[in-house]
């Protein structure tokens, strides 16, 4: 197995001792089949135990290990070293406050996610013995793409409107709202609209499209938001021109 020495410039920040973050460089003998996360684990295990970061599954399904790799929001477990040069810059995900080292404060996202009611709002309460909801494959196909979101926040790190506008609900939460709006078991679109169709919801989006480019699971939040804009516009004019309908 070939080894390659790679220099990692990692942004460090200790809230108890540091005024502001600064880069620290580590030289790591890397195996050719490694991903970025393997190298970071090597740093923590062998070089500097104080390095703090989030990770879990190491297979791109938990969404924990998002970070900026050479300026690009990436899952560190999904980014192979063979695709990178001999010097790699690693920073915590953009557009979130830094808690410590590569760990960000996610509270803003958690609050905004909760506000879009990311769960099935059923038409009626079905007792368990009435059995399960039934869906055709076509009904599943309607929303399946948007179920793939792992809340990794790469889309938030890529989105300039989230960077510049404090209130913006953001691509991930809006994609999840869309997932539930499209689900045939759900009737919560009206309830979600107070947040989704507000100025801080879909209307803050200017379709930059960076979110969909960085999404590791092809959720396409940009597409979800544009579809919601069209649906919201139709709803708006229906309510305006035919107020007797509901």
């Amino acid at each position: 197995m070939n080894k390659r020495d790679i220099e990692f410039e990692i942004l460090r920040y200790n809230p108890e001792t540091d005024e502001k973050p600064s880069f620290q460089t580590y030289r790591v003998p890397c195996q050719e089949d490694w991903v970025i996360l393997d190298a970071i684990n090597y740093v923590k295990d062998e070089i500097d135990r104080t390095l703090s970061y989030r990770w879990s599954c190491h297979m791109a399904v938990c969404g924990s290990c998002g970070m900026m790799i050479n300026g690009e929001p990436t899952l560190s477990c999904k980014s192979f070293l063979r695709d990178h040069p001999d010097r790699i810059r690693i920073e915590p995900l953009s557009n979130f406050p830094i808690e410590r080292d590569l760990i960000t404060v996610m509270d803003d996202f958690m609050e905004k996610l909760g506000s879009v009611k990311p769960y099935i709002v059923p038409n009626e309460d079905r007792p368990v013995d009435e059995g399960e909801h039934r869906q055709t494959p076509a009904q599943l196909a309607d929303f399946k793409q948007y179920t793939a979101c792992i809340n990794c926040l790469l889309c938030y790190a890529a989105c300039p409107q989230y960077a510049l506008n404090e209130d913006f609900v953001g691509p991930g939460a809006l994609a999840l709202a869309h997932r539930y709006n499209l689900d045939s078991r759900d009737v919560g679109r009206e309830a979600r609209a107070d947040v989704v169709a507000s100025n801080a919801g879909i209307w803050e989006c200017s379709f930059v499209g960076a979110c969909s480019q960085v999404c590791p699971h092809d959720v396409d939040p940009a597409g979800a938001i544009q579809q919601t804009k069209i649906a919201s516009t139709v709803d708006y004019f229906k309510a305006l021109l035919m107020p007797w309908r509901n």
């Binding site: 300039p160 499209g209 069209i230």
Partner: protein, 129 residues
């Protein structure tokens, strides 16, 4: 243990210089300036038309002079960029499903270009005669 989260500042005006995809986005957005300016030229042409033949022909001279030509070349490039970027995102904004499968994005985009060619051909035909 005390928490002291650090907020990284982003330049409100120049954030878009940091990545190529953002620069592409800004160029797309700025295409609207030229589309707006060209449409303003159309409005001026209507004004001159209403002011009589002499005024209108004076306008045509300016339109086809060097400055006018330069403006139209730039406007044309930006208009084409608007067309391409607009068509490219249409499948995302309006996905079509047939049964269980999605209509491929390429088909939707291709249909738009076909329509664009048809519209252009009609206009060119009407102008030619």
């Amino acid at each position: 243990m005390s928490r002291r989260p650090y907020v990284r500042e982003v330049s409100r005006s120049w954030w878009w210089l940091n990545q190529r995809r953002y620069v592409g986005y800004m160029i797309r957005e700025l295409s609207c300036v030229f589309i707006g300016a060209y449409t303003a030229v159309i409005v001026v042409s209507l004004m001159r038309l209403s002011q009589g033949q002499a005024a209108y022909e004076g306008f045509l001279d300016a339109l086809w002079g060097p400055v006018g030509l330069a403006f139209h070349i730039v406007a044309f490039v930006f208009a084409l960029y608007h067309t391409t970027t607009w068509f490219n995102v249409t499948p995302k904004a309006m996905p079509l499903r047939l049964g269980e499968r999605r209509v491929p994005g390429g088909a939707i985009i291709g249909a738009h270009y076909a329509g664009w060619l048809a519209v252009s051909a009609v206009v060119l035909f009407l102008a030619g005669d």
